[in-house]
Symmetry: C2
Subunit: 144 residues, 2 copies
DNA sequence: TCATCTCGTAACAGATGTGGTTACGATAAC
DNA sequence: GTTATCGTAACCACATCTGTTACGAGATGA
């Protein structure tokens, strides 16, 4: 299984917050967000909870409570969202230690490390080029 | 769970083939490769089987059989290996259809698609810059 | 022909990650 | 105090990946 749809879901949730805010609903409930994503409100609260811990959204409790974005959509990039989700790099080293008796096993990890670091850099740089406002604008334009 | 150590393992296996070839062992068995990676020979045969289907390695059966690289290490890039493994993009769309009654749900996927496509492009481009020969050279240099 | 070696591959178990669900306490508005 | 909603634990279901056993297929050489 891959964890690779989490960024999509998070951006979807944030876009729902943005849409509702523009329609004069400052706060949105996990139930309302869940309805658009077609998932369970607990799933929404879990993921928005991660985003709140990273400072991207705010939550409020009690009646009339819910969630809202903590910043303007122009100030949040997809890289920020990916970070907030604790996303792991696309490529990782061995899960189990390889055999140190073999020179390949000893040297392969330090050899691949800088390669993977560069890959991670370009991914983050590319994600940083797009903001939630960009995504929201395109989303609305393509909704019909 | 993430499938993200597969490229590492594959490059490790190919490097073992390269090392043994340079030591005048043209063919290597899955048992020998498994010893360096510290895994099961069947795991090696499965993964090298994928690489063979992509034309990166060759296999032979019977006594004295095994595996060898099908090309020079300078001619195979990490992007080729990743392709051969059938690697999936780092980011994917929703697993379940979102609610078409919501404009965000309707527009979010076409809006994110080009973003993810660009991410995939830069990842592939970065991986294409490194060949197996590059990795092998660095691996040997860092083995001690 | 036969013994032997190794690949090729099916089948299954275990670990792990993600998402969905239920449940219930905490909090805040009225 | 009633009500709405978050916060979070607990559990299940499901998919993927890895490791393992098992055994047939193919090739070599005596």
């Amino acid at each position: 299984m891959s964890a690779n749809s989490r960024l999509t879901i998070a951006v979807h949730m944030l876009s729902v917050l943005e849409l509702r805010r523009r329609r004069d609903h400052e706060w949105s409930t996990s139930e309302q967000v869940a309805h658009s994503v077609r998932t369970n409100p607990v799933v929404v609260r879990r993921m928005l909870g991660d985003l709140r811990d990273a400072g991207l959204v705010e939550s409020r409790r009690g009646p009339g409570a819910g969630w809202r974005m903590a910043h303007d959509a122009t100030e949040i990039s997809l890289a920020d969202v990916d970070d907030a989700l604790g996303a792991e790099p696309a490529y990782a080293m061995h899960r189990n230690e390889p055999n140190p008796a073999c020179p390949v096993a000893r040297g392969i990890r330090p050899a691949l490390e800088p390669v993977y670091a560069r890959v991670d850099d370009v991914v983050r740089a590319e994600l940083a080029r797009t903001t939630l406002a960009d995504v929201f604008r395109t989303t609305m334009a393509l909704a019909d």
